[in-house]
Amino acid sequence: MPTKEHADGERERCVTGIDAIDHILNGGIPRGNTVLISGSVGTGKTSICIEFLIRGAINGENSLYLSVTEPTDKLLQNVIPFDFFDDRLARQGKLQFLDLPKMYEKLGIDKEDLDFDQTRLLADTIASLVEEQKIKRLVLDSVTSVCYRIREQERIRDFLLRLGTVLSAKGCTTLLVSEIRSSEEGYSQWGVEEALADGVIVTGNLERRGDLLRTLQIVKMRGTTHSRAKYVLDLTTSGVLLVPLLKGGSVAGGG
């Protein structure tokens, strides 16, 4: 289904509310895009996703966090306490947290590996949840853990395509967390994820003469021009802040 367009052909944006990211993307993520947030452990993936959801909820967009790895009741204790977070968002249902293991249970998925039908059932269940609850921002943390259970590359492709099509049609902007090792090539475990995603944002660590800097880089984003430069990131109580990585003609590579 075609995505909404402005008269000038420019796609409508999902203004993330993370100022620096909106700035890099010239106004936000094109609405309905599925974006991979890819990075090694502890690089800030979950924090970025949570800020994205809170900012959306504050702005009146229904936001849903699907957690696979961490129980959602512990989640907020383990990320930085954002000062713009408001309990009322959760009570009003604007900001929802859901444990995927509970969904598996409800769907009667008890085996470690999902077969073809179960994979479809999972995609359809998430899709209808988004539809019924009019979710405009979705986070799946992490897509890597879901893919581990789907296992087969073909089924992973089917799952992501099926889900992505519905989400995009509903104008739901989605962040898929992808866990990678810093030594790895590419931005996802199976490669399918990054190929199918509309965007890829990479978080990482950069060592420069003994200092370890957190970095963020937008590698791809369909539907908009954007800077592909590397930024240095800080996770603060007022949200994610970015400044350009200084080159100084002397940076010893790495990423």
Partner: protein, 195 residues
């Protein structure tokens, strides 16, 4: 008295400058604390500016102590401290001091300045860089120029004053060139030197 004169001179010269100015302040070591007093007490406090003081020269606690002796209220004064990481434990840190691990983490200095200014979007600010000489010990000229360029432009667009300290005894040709490139004004406190 010499001390009073330096203090008054700094304040007077700063007051003559418009918002968004980037100022090089060329000091002799013995004028250091007087210059700080003039800049903060007689200029920033009078103008009701939020002060973000980046120090890579002496620990923030030493400056805080000096300000407290002068009974300068700390409410709107914040520190980004690049040299206390090793020396100070978490509990001993002043609540208005944020630590940057090392003066080589220039991006993190910018991020902390940004963080502090974001908390007071409606207030005008003075950002002090103390000093270019100590930053030059830890960083090469290229990266330091790039840092100053980005920082100053960012602060200028916010309407903030930027004051960059340069200790005349430790100035090199490179530092002088850098200051010329990045600042709109130079305040030189040579007049009261020596005595």
């Amino acid at each position: 008295m010499v001390e009073v004169s330096v203090t008054a001179e700094v304040a007077e010269k700063l007051r003559a400058l418009p918002e968004s100015s980037a100022i090089s302040m060329r000091l002799k070591s013995d004028q250091y604390f007087d210059a700080i007093q003039g800049m903060i007490d007689r200029f920033a406090i009078k103008k009701d500016l939020e002060v973000v003081y980046v120090t890579s020269t002496i620990p923030s606690q030493s400056i805080i102590n000096a300000l407290e002796v002068l009974e300068i209220p700390m409410e709107h004064i914040w520190f980004v401290d690049c040299i206390s990481q090793i020396m100070m434990s978490q509990e001993k840190r002043h609540p208005h001091a944020i630590i940057v691990e090392s003066p080589t983490m220039l991006e993190n200095i910018m991020l902390k300045v940004e963080f502090l200014l974001r908390r007071v979007p409606d207030r005008n600010a003075l950002v002090v860089l103390d000093s270019i000489n100590s930053l030059a010990i830890h960083n090469n000229t290229k990266i330091l120029s790039e840092f100053l360029h980005i920082l100053v432009n960012n602060l200028r667009s916010r309407g903030a004053y930027t004051v960059i300290f340069s200790m005349q005894e430790y100035e090199t040709e490179e530092i002088r060139n850098m200051l010329v490139l990045v600042s709109d004004e130079t305040i030189e406190l040579g007049a009261y030197s020596g005595s």
